[in-house]
Symmetry: C2
Subunit: 188 residues, 2 copies
Amino acid sequence: MARSEIKIGGFGGQGVILSGYIIGRAAAIYDNKYATMIQAFGPEARGSACSAQVIVDTDPIAYPYITSPGVLVVMSQEAYSRFLPELDQGGTLITEEDLVTVRNLRKDIRHRAVPATRFAEELGKRLVLNIVMMGFFSAVTDIAGKDAMRKAVQMSVPKGTEELNLKAFDRGWEYGMRLIGMPADTAH
Amino acid sequence: MARSEIKIGGFGGQGVILSGYIIGRAAAIYDNKYATMIQAFGPEARGSACSAQVIVDTDPIAYPYITSPGVLVVMSQEAYSRFLPELDQGGTLITEEDLVTVRNLRKDIRHRAVPATRFAEELGKRLVLNIVMMGFFSAVTDIAGKDAMRKAVQMSVPKGTEELNLKAFDRGWEYGMRLIGMPADTAH
């Protein structure tokens, strides 16, 4: 892998930005790659949709904007409709199963869905759904490994919430590993 | 104002990224400017320091990296020591009063300190200290106005926490207005 481009979308307050931050941090700090995360805001961005662009590269990143992400993670229907056309040929679409309805998807796209809200609610805190998504992301892509992502989660969430967030991560990760047909106790 | 460059630093879990996001969103969406927020992660970034670079401009932003911020907001001693040398000539330094000790400051720097942690604790939730900082930031700089920032806070924090976060914002804003010698009921 040289350069991976990831776009994450959802609505405000859902933890979209923190998700991107965790991927960037995991890739750069623990996997010895470089990463940038960027949000661009313009007068046209008046909706409640919120997005983060993350780039992970084996070299320093001079141009941090994404034109065509290889992975799109969406947590709302609006973000799905808005960002899907950007997804690269042969790209991976990751959706929150209960928040996003997917229909008539382009044949070249690999689609992976996870009931992250339900898992988060089972853990007692709906807010950690983005961290469930990140566990799932780690399992179904090869951009940032499990250990690096877990450490990044630990360093990035509010003090005192680490344990809950790691549980949420593991829940998403295990589900992702089962989905792609690998035993969840396999190191990734 | 053409281009304003702001750097925010603290440690993971403190809400540094959300703070930058709120500034960018406020400036772009409600003040009709453009904004970008970027985090760059490299293998050297192994510490717990966490930072966000925000640019607000009247024109679209082609180059989103900051070399010399005009405003530096810091919420930890490590971020202070690390990022202070970057602060532009005549720049504004905003610190969390109890978390950052400032000594022998360059004479060209304008320093504004706020006891954000104390205010946040008085509101019953230490976590909102970053939002107190954002209220203070809005008052003591002219980058993003009060109403725009309040709307951005409302749209960016988790559902159900809006009221608390707006209280935190107002607390910081009023303190900032008093500090710069303007009555807190003046529109900014």
